[in-house]
């Protein structure tokens, strides 16, 4: 496949999937600029390896994004201070009574260490199983379960309303 054909395929892929990828990047970083950086880097790596990707390009891009996010978490931890100053630009569609909880959860999520945050996003935003999450992060399943458990425990500490919710995510207790 020539360079032009690769570029055309890649462009079509990005046009179709970049918004979903951007949302995932934003959920990790909590900042538009940091999310753009993260996604841009992941897409660049995806483009560079386009011919060698065996399977889903989106899965590959996501894997790179989560991996990069966790591996550069100390740098991103500095950016975290910025993320607190950025509020969502649109009010969520959910009921007004839950908006404060969502806001609190959002801020609490952004205070979590990168690996915990990545696990929670993968598990509860991307709807991935423990096995799939472990595969993306390159961590053992037990570690993923432990990170999810600790992350949720921390969220419950930070957001009492979250702790008061009716039940706990079922998979988390499987560690």
């Amino acid at each position: 496949m020539g360079d032009k054909a690769v570029a055309a395929e890649f462009t079509a892929f990005v046009e179709e999937r970049s918004h979903a990828l951007m949302k995932a990047a934003y959920s990790l970083t909590g900042s538009q600029h940091a999310a753009e950086d993260l996604l841009q880097t992941a897409l660049t790596k995806t483009y560079l390896n386009w011919r060698r990707i065996d399977g889903s390009a989106e899965g590959y891009a996501r894997r790179i994004m989560y991996h990069d996010f966790v591996s550069s978490w100390r740098r991103l931890r500095k950016l975290k201070e910025l993320s607190f100053s950025e509020l969502p630009e649109h009010a969520p569609d959910a009921g007004a009574e839950r908006v404060p909880v969502q806001m609190l959860l959002r801020d609490a999520l952004l205070t979590l260490p990168a690996r915990q945050r990545a696990v929670l996003v993968l598990r509860y935003f991307e709807d991935l199983s423990v096995e799939e999450t472990a595969a993306i992060l390159g961590s053992p399943k037990g570690t993923v379960a432990s990170l999810a458990s600790r992350g949720l425990a921390r969220l419950r500490e930070l957001v009492p309303e979250f702790a008061a919710a009716q039940d706990q995510p079922s998979e988390v207790v499987k560690a």
């Binding site: 890649f10 990005v14 649109h90 969520p92 509860y124 935003f125 390159g138 570690t143 949720l152």
Partner: protein
């Protein structure tokens, strides 16, 4: 509502207002092409460096009466010469230059290899790394003829073993995981170990290099350790792997940024860590830095360091230094090629 649903809803809400990026595909393609061009440039530079090193590679241990043509394509004579000014210093060969391939000691000869080649420590083989879009292709040559040609996707940084005809290279796969491979110049057999089992999975710089005895390879783990809550629990380590099995053999509780066998004292007590400001001499038993050195450094032997110092006033100098920092000799350098297992120093005549 369950916690799971609440959390999902919160993340959904958080990303509701996320903007897309205009032209993100074009930007990624442009960046990718720039990176690829840079990689090719670096690869080309590496070949040039190899050529520079190959032009004055030293060879120790072969009888002077059995010279071998080692250049690829264009055979180059190997000579045992008696260039004035060349001498042994603390076990290292200092060669007047530039481009002088002469050495007076009967047990030492300088082999000349034209082109971007590097000679094995036994002098029997030459390696030639050619950059491609997907990594390097390695040619192994003997007596000027190619005996093996190995394509290595994701390979970089080739280094001869300090003691045998084995080439070490760093590998990476599409997931960005790192490992290494050894290539036996005799048989052409490649042994890949990818990925290696570094506990925290991250390394940096992820370049594997030989440990002096030639049975282990080294890589530095760059990341600090944190627990699941992100609390700092300790510094990263330097990991050593068995060169044959690829299994981790031990780790040193220091982040030592080493470049090759010369970064370690032969007795294993000290290591030299490269920094932006020069090198640091680190006592591995005391686990602390004992000297800040003013430039790139190598162990000549257990007690002696060779340090290249560069100052605006005096230019480049080779310092012969004891481990306590005492400078015993200063030699003005016309150039210093440091690629490969030995520093090949070119002294101004």
């Amino acid at each position: 509502m369950s916690q799971e649903a609440l959390l999902r809803e919160a993340i959904e809400a958080m990303t509701t207002g996320v903007r897309g990026m205009d032209g993100i595909a074009a930007t990624a393609i442009a960046r990718g092409r720039r990176i690829r061009r840079r990689q090719r440039l670096i690869a080309a530079a590496a070949v040039v460096l190899l050529a520079a090193a190959g032009a004055t590679v030293l060879y120790q241990g072969r009888p002077a009466s059995a010279p071998t043509n080692i250049a690829a394509g264009v055979p180059s004579p190997v000579r045992t010469l008696s260039e004035p000014g060349a001498r042994i210093l603390a076990g290292w060969a200092l060669v007047p230059g530039p481009a002088v391939q002469e050495f007076p000691q009967p047990d030492l000869r300088v082999l000349r290899a034209d082109g971007g080649d590097s000679v094995s420590p036994t002098g029997r083989f030459v390696m030639r790394a050619t950059a491609g879009s997907d990594g390097f292709r390695l040619s192994i040559l003997r007596d000027g003829k190619e005996v093996h040609n190995v394509a290595l996707a994701g390979a970089e940084a080739f280094q001869w073993s300090p003691v045998s005809d084995i080439v070490l290279t760093t590998l990476s796969n599409v997931e960005g995981q790192k490992g290494f491979a050894t290539i036996d110049a005799e048989t052409g057999q490649v042994q890949s170990h990818l990925p290696v089992s570094i506990p925290a999975s991250f390394c940096g710089p992820c370049t594997f290099s030989w440990y002096p005895r030639g049975n282990e390879v080294v890589v530095r783990q760059a990341e600090d350790f944190t627990d699941a809550d992100g609390n700092f629990t300790g510094r990263g380590s330097t990991f050593l792997f068995d060169a044959v099995t690829g299994k981790a053999t031990r780790n040193l509780p220091l982040q030592v940024n080493v470049s090759g066998p010369g970064s370690w004292s032969p007795n294993g007590r000290y290591a030299l860590s490269e920094t932006e400001r020069g090198s640091q001499l680190i006592d591995l038993e005391l686990r602390q830095m004992t000297q800040q050195l003013p430039g790139r450094a190598w162990f000549a032997n257990d007690e002696t360091l060779l340090v290249i110092r560069s100052t605006p006033e005096r230019g480049r100098e080779l310092l012969v230094m004891k481990l306590d920092g005492t400078i015993t000799e200063v030699i003005t350098l016309a150039g210093a090629f440091t690629k490969g297992n030995l520093p090949v120093l070119v002294i101004r005549q």
